[in-house]
Symmetry: D2
Subunit: 169 residues, 4 copies
């Protein structure tokens, strides 16, 4: 059972530009992180886009949805900025069926010392191997159904919300 990992950017993959003091994207660090974790999960990694999730458009989300449909794998991990992770999860949740998709990200870039990225990637890979078909967010060690999660921006933590009536499967 191979798992597809689709990188889209987010804090997870940001780096520090020491010439101007700004954060930017170069490449995804997923391969490095899997090496650090001594992962032997059978994965195919692809970098679909490398953007801040606040810049993510509807077209980008449709691209992600299309990619989830097109790849042969039935189990998918998506790395994503945390700010709009619930929006992308909603698009995937409404538009996809028969696949297990787990979105994850990080509050601190992987390249910084204190990142939660490697922990989150571990949980996401594990949830992707074990959860039934559906779209989930994996953050803070927990998993949430796509229509029952929100990021608490003041605390920087993902939490459960009552499942939205109109969208629940």
């Amino acid at each position: 059972m191979q798992i597809r990992i689709i990188a889209t950017g987010g804090t997870f993959d940001k780096e520090y530009n020491e010439l101007n003091g700004e954060l930017f994207f170069k490449d995804t660090h997923i391969a490095d992180m899997l090496r650090l974790g001594r992962s032997h999960v059978d994965v195919a990694v692809e970098s679909l886009m490398m953007i801040d999730s606040l810049q993510m458009t509807d077209a980008d989300r449709q691209l992600i949805l299309g990619r989830c449909r097109d790849v042969p794998e039935e189990r998918i991990v998506i790395t994503h900025g945390t700010d709009t992770m619930e929006l992308t999860a909603a698009v995937l949740g409404a538009g996809l069926s028969g696949k297990t998709v787990v979105l994850t990200g990080a509050m601190v870039p992987y390249t910084f010392g204190s990142s939660d990225g490697i922990f989150n990637l571990g949980t996401a890979l594990a949830f992707a191997q074990t959860l039934a078909a559906g779209v989930y967010v994996a953050m803070n060690g927990r998993y949430f159904l796509w229509n029952a999660v929100r990021k608490n921006r003041s605390k920087g933590v993902f939490e459960s919300v009552a499942r939205s009536e109109e969208t629940a499967g």
Copy 2:
């Protein structure tokens, strides 16, 4: 749903003694690791023993088994040295029922820069939330049933083996 985390030692929790250049145990780093992972999983952490798994005796394994039975939680993560993890898993697998127990560890101490510990703890916590009752080893991003796993010592990797006839559930 609370998860019990039982620390028993292993490379996971070893530290470097800068006075004599030897590795030793002080306290478990699980609380630090959960903080780094921004974990909001409901957990109770206890340090049952702090030993190298090569030094672990049958009595120690019975102690771990007894503790798994006694704690109120039905989902348990055990951090453990990798060298005899499969032995302890076998004792638990044969002696315990109705609980989900996930053993994990690390190839490199958490306090060293290049540890797989935080990744492994992430996967173990996720597997403990999602797998059915049973005893598992979570290493290298994967999970293995207690009677179908062995550590490949020359590669430092856990791999599947044909499930042992006499012990398979």
Copy 3:
């Protein structure tokens, strides 16, 4: 021989705010860094200001100059943003005599994994113990007289320039 360490901020002491993705100042990390370096140099550490050196005003520089005059120590290390380090060095070089002052900083915040901060602090402390009275910049493992240094912004490296005629001692 006690050395005064005066923190003024700069990239050196920036931290990542995981709630909004911006860099900010809290406290100086000099005490942590000295602990990491197992330093037994006799030092007095003070945090005079905690600002980005691009925001530093003439008044701020006069404050630093005054502080260098007032402290009893004859050897001083100043941590400072790299963008205007040469400007502060020039103010100190023109206004101070009889003391050894070494300015240093970092291209990457200490709290990020790949910081040059601890290396630079080591060099600055060593130069402060050995150089004659004068004002110096210590970056990239080297030291430069205050009137013979400039930051090459495109390379992110400090380099020697011909000593300015009018200011040279």
Copy 4:
């Protein structure tokens, strides 16, 4: 002014073997460390031996002495295990003249998270650029003349001792 850096091993360059849990030597990390420090000091790095300083023989020390004489540079940094650093310093101090030699090391391997190695390398490079001809130990942010230093093994700290009469220059 080029500086010669001679690596001889020691805790500084030890690595963790995750297959057997033992520390071992592969290559020196000096190039990596200089890169981390964004060093632009003009250096030539060589790895003369890669051993624990407790295993260092008189022949090894003569080899180091010979190498210090032979290299064209007048300023030399030697990385060395801390346990017998003062012995090698004494051999060099008695047998070498006209060159500035600075020995340094680390209490914790560079590859571990909490190493003092990069701080020490910074101080050693700075001392090598500024101190007069002589043989010195640079540890704990300080420098010591070769005949006035000893490692306090119970504290893991280098400290001054009264200069030995018979050997003082």
